[in-house]
């Protein structure tokens, strides 16, 4: 895979102690997504979540800041490949500034009823370095501060 060396893509692999079907549901079931999604200091209001997990279907939700729910990021994506319990590939925009990112999630069985999740997101290209990206950075800075308080 030539793309493996592509430094403009973020790649994360992680194992969850749950069967593939459950991990998959956590991404496509709006009730579940609103329960877990978002880094510390953010939450996803249930009413903002709209997920239609099929090719061409939408994925929309808002990541609202706990401190100030009016301040948040809107995720607005379209599914480009969907294989139930295996693959969720979407292309979408973060915020209203039109930053386009591809997000691919692949699920694999691991021994003991566990699941390995492979995430690939990008490209983090120069055009991505805009005011909005700076906005992200500032929220991470705030996140750092929150974590230090904790």
């Amino acid at each position: 895979m030539t793309q493996a060396a592509d430094t403009t893509y973020l790649e994360i692999s992680r194992i969850f102690d749950a069967p593939r079907e459950l991990v998959y549901r956590a991404f496509v079931d709006p009730d579940q997504l609103s329960e877990w999604f978002g880094p510390a200091g953010f939450s996803v209001p249930r009413e903002s979540v709209d997920i239609d997990a099929r090719v061409g279907g939408r994925k929309r939700f808002v990541m609202a800041k706990d401190e100030n729910p009016a301040d948040g990021h809107e995720i607005n994506a379209t599914f480009t490949e969907v294989i139930e319990n295996e693959v969720l590939d979407s292309e979408g925009f973060v915020g209203t500034e039109g930053l386009r990112l591809q997000l691919r999630i692949e699920l694999y069985d691991e021994p003991g009823g566990k699941t390995r999740l492979e995430l690939r997101q990008g490209p983090y290209t120069p055009e991505f370095k805009t005011d909005a990206a700076r906005g992200w950075e500032s929220s991470f800075t705030k996140l750092d501060a929150l974590l230090k308080l904790a």
Binding site: I12, L22, A26, P39, A40, P126, F140
Partner: protein, 127 residues
């Protein structure tokens, strides 16, 4: 802030330089040690002038430095800018790591399993 804008611009130049597969391959080769243009041309099926152009882009981004050793111009990998670029990506990695910590907890909850890592079992006595 001027300082921040400069840092952003520099990152843009670094990411621009990294956006090309040949240039990434050159950096990977230089990670094994310094090399001349001739040595760098060998593994790639492109001309020496083309390699030179790639080296100029990498040098402008600060990803390599070039020095004369004898009659040859030798390229050296510079790690600092590469680290700056990966640090930026790391913020996004952290974002996902935190997300996945919460997913992990969520999956445990819906499966109603006791925590696997020892020492935290006392927290669950009330449930």
């Amino acid at each position: 802030m001027a300082a921040q804008a400069t840092a952003e611009d520099r990152l843009s130049v670094i990411f621009g330089a990294l956006a090309d597969p040949t240039r990434r391959a050159i950096l990977a080769r230089l990670a094994d040690g310094d090399a001349t243009v001739t040595q760098l041309t060998e593994p790639f099926s492109i001309s020496m002038p083309a390699i030179s152009r790639h080296l100029k882009v990498l040098e402008r981004a600060g990803l390599i430095s070039r020095s004369r050793s004898g009659q040859w111009l030798s390229s050296t990998l510079e790690a600092a800018p590469l680290k700056e670029a990966t640090d930026w990506m790391e913020q996004y990695r952290r974002y996902w790591d935190e997300n996945f910590d919460r997913l992990d907890a969520h999956l445990r909850r819906i499966q109603a399993k006791p925590p696997r890592d020892g020492g935290q079992t006392t927290e669950r006595t009330g449930q």
